[in-house]
């Protein structure tokens, strides 16, 4: 069935574009103010930049998992392909930084797309997709340790390219990452308003019904994975050039994927603005917990359990409710 023969409009399509642009503008303005407050501290700026990188990861994961139900447990690995790939292309092969970032992003996109294509073709379902991608993530981590010549193994490696540019200053990288966050939010928002977003919603709500109305479920799953993986590769790559170093834990399963899951659950799955709220809230909570050492791991675990047990909808709907009550008054 051709795409034009389906002519059901969604509420999102009917809303004016301003309902997307205004929240993004507000989020951008608020986050742009953070360096005024924390700009003096190199450590706090580092935490903030990492927080924004995670916001990018969560937005991407939200598109893949939240929109089309593919449990990609290789968020860190895909970002790592961008990060390690970009650094190796630039430092070891002498390519310009921008070219390296683009190529590394394409590599992550291809790998993510392939994982999705294979899972969809074999109709693996949520759990098996999760296991296959987890296996990929663990293999990637093991490879990083094994290929020490390129990756520096356990200790990680430095990134020489970009050393003398604004990317290594204290504050400019923050705005570079913020630009990515806002760009990704905009892309996700626009996607949701397009036919693709409508198809995502349909196949999330009822896959069989979606298939019966002529949506090529397989195709849209792969689209979502391609878009999300491109975001992951780009964010990982850019982050590494601003940070100047990386190690396997920068992209490890326990260090990235678990945190991304918590952030997404924190913010609400499937919602455009959930990821940014979850990422900011979690970055703050994490910073408070950092002095507690192992207690932080325990808190992570409890948080995961509580979030998925009690607040499966996240805090974004809660904030929405509050907002609507304020407006009603």
């Amino acid at each position: 069935m051709s795409e034009t023969s389906v002519s059901i409009s969604t509420p999102a399509e009917d809303q004016p574009l301003s309902s997307l642009l205004i929240p993004i503008g507000i989020i951008g303005a608020l986050l742009a103010l953070v360096p005024l407050w924390l700009g003096g501290s190199r450590v706090m700026m580092g935490v903030s930049i990492l927080g924004l990188a995670f916001a990018c990861y969560v937005i991407a994961f939200n598109i893949i998992f939240g929109s089309t139900g593919q449990l990609f447990l290789c968020v860190g690995a895909l970002a790592g392909i961008g990060g390690y790939g970009g650094a190796i292309l630039a430092d070891n092969f002498g390519l310009p930084m921008v070219v390296s970032i683009i190529l590394a992003t394409l590599m992550a996109t291809a790998v993510g797309g392939l994982l999705s294509y294979v899972s969809v073709r074999r109709s693996l379902g949520v759990i098996f997709t999760g296991i296959v991608t987890l296996i990929f993530a663990l293999s990637f981590e093991t490879l990083l340790l094994g290929l020490g010549e390129w990756t520096g193994g356990d200790n990680g490696r430095l990134v020489a390219t970009g050393r003398d540019t604004f990317l290594r200053d204290q504050i400019p990288p923050y705005y570079v990452m913020l630009f990515l966050v806002l760009l990704f939010l905009l892309i996700h928002g626009l996607l949701q308003r397009s036919y693709i977003g409508w198809a995502f919603k349909a196949l999330r709500d009822n896959e069989v019904a979606a298939e019966l109305t002529g949506i090529d479920v397989a195709k849209y799953r792969v689209y979502a994975a391609l878009i999300g993986s491109a975001m992951l590769g780009l964010a990982g790559s850019v982050y590494v050039f601003t940070e100047g170093r990386m190690s396997p834990t920068t992209f490890g399963f326990g260090d990235v994927d678990v945190v991304v899951l918590v952030m997404l659950a924190f913010g609400s799955i499937g919602n455009v603005f959930g990821p940014i709220i979850g990422a900011v809230a979690f970055t703050i909570v994490d910073e408070i917990l950092i002095e507690f050492g192992q207690l932080r791991t325990i808190a992570y675990g409890l948080l995961i359990m509580i979030l998925f047990l009690r607040m499966r909808e996240g805090i974004t709907p809660l904030l929405n409710k509050v907002w609507q009550q304020i407006r009603a008054k």
């Binding site: 999760g130 296996i135 192992q294």
Partner: protein
């Protein structure tokens, strides 16, 4: 080469037993227990502390196994309760996420309280020649215990009415319910058994190499790989896959390098999912 294969067998038998605990719970209850490795670590630490407190070795081991089983029962009574209300994929997914959270809680607590503790059981006696290869007594004893356990499991599932009741639930839950088997009780029994098996693996492993506080995640990952290759819910599959993967692991580590060997196992699991999602001995749906 023979030495490699024998070492692989020792490791493979443990992998098989490890996967058995995970695969039974999945096959019976649709629960993927990501805290499985941490249960093994708890059991190992309980044995280690009992020995330190002067409890005789055998009794300490029994206490450790019971502790593992107890954790299984506690899971059944607490965080798995909301999971039981769901079915099919959402059920597996929620169980995976909740036990993943639990694994962080347990691991965080254990590393916080007992960062340097480990269980290492020394078996006296040097080496015994098998097919011309000197094998350590500890490895042989560990393999012996594992084989006996497999035999006992086989007999239990084949010939006792309780074992058959468990199998009936794996085959067809609704049918089992109709003939008077209570799936919930069977699941509780299997969660207990799974905890005991996790403990047993920790104990036999510690006869070959120390099991420390940080071992949880790698135990879970190994169990998951073997479970996937063997077929979810199949004890015989877990046994077979364990032995095959154990040999692959040791041979690959010897010929190529230890980091490749883990990747080989992971690739084996990925290929199994892609080529035969039901696993070696699982029943294709």
């Amino acid at each position: 080469m023979i030495a490699n294969i024998l070492d692989g067998l020792v490791f493979g038998l443990q992998l098989g037993l490890l996967a058995t605990g995970l695969t039974l719970v999945y096959g019976l209850g649709g629960i993927l227990n990501m805290a499985y490795g941490q249960i093994a670590v708890i059991a190992a630490l309980v044995v280690a502390f009992s020995i330190e407190a002067g409890v005789p070795l055998l009794l300490a081991i029994v206490i450790g196994l019971l502790a593992g089983g107890l954790v299984g029962l506690i899971l059944d009574q607490t965080i798995l309760r909301p999971v039981y209300r769901l079915h099919e994929e959402p059920r597996v997914l929620l169980s995976l996420l909740l036990t993943l959270g639990l694994s962080f809680v347990i691991e965080g607590f254990l590393i916080w309280q007992f960062p340097l503790d480990a269980l290492s059981i020394r078996i006296p006696g040097g080496t015994i020649d098998i097919l011309g290869v000197p094998m350590r007594t500890g490895s042989l004893l560990a393999s012996g215990i594992t084989l006996v356990t497999f035999a006992a499991l086989f007999l239990f599932f084949r010939y006792t009415s309780l074992g058959m009741a468990v199998r009936s639930v794996i085959e067809n839950e609704e049918g089992a319910r109709l003939v008077g088997v209570r799936p919930n009780q069977m699941l509780r029994l299997i969660l207990f058994l799974s905890g005991v098996l996790a403990g047993l693996v920790a104990v036999t492993r510690s006869m070959v190499t120390p099991v420390d506080t940080h071992a949880g995640l790698s135990i879970t990952v190994f169990a998951l790989i073997v479970t996937v290759v063997g077929g979810l819910g199949s004890v015989a599959g877990a046994f077979l896959a364990g032995i095959i993967l154990g040999i692959i692991n040791v041979v690959a580590a010897d010929f190529i390098g230890s980091y490749i060997s883990l990747i080989m196992l992971l690739v084996a699991a990925a290929l199994t999912i892609l080529i035969r999602p039901a696993g070696l001995l699982g029943v294709p749906e």
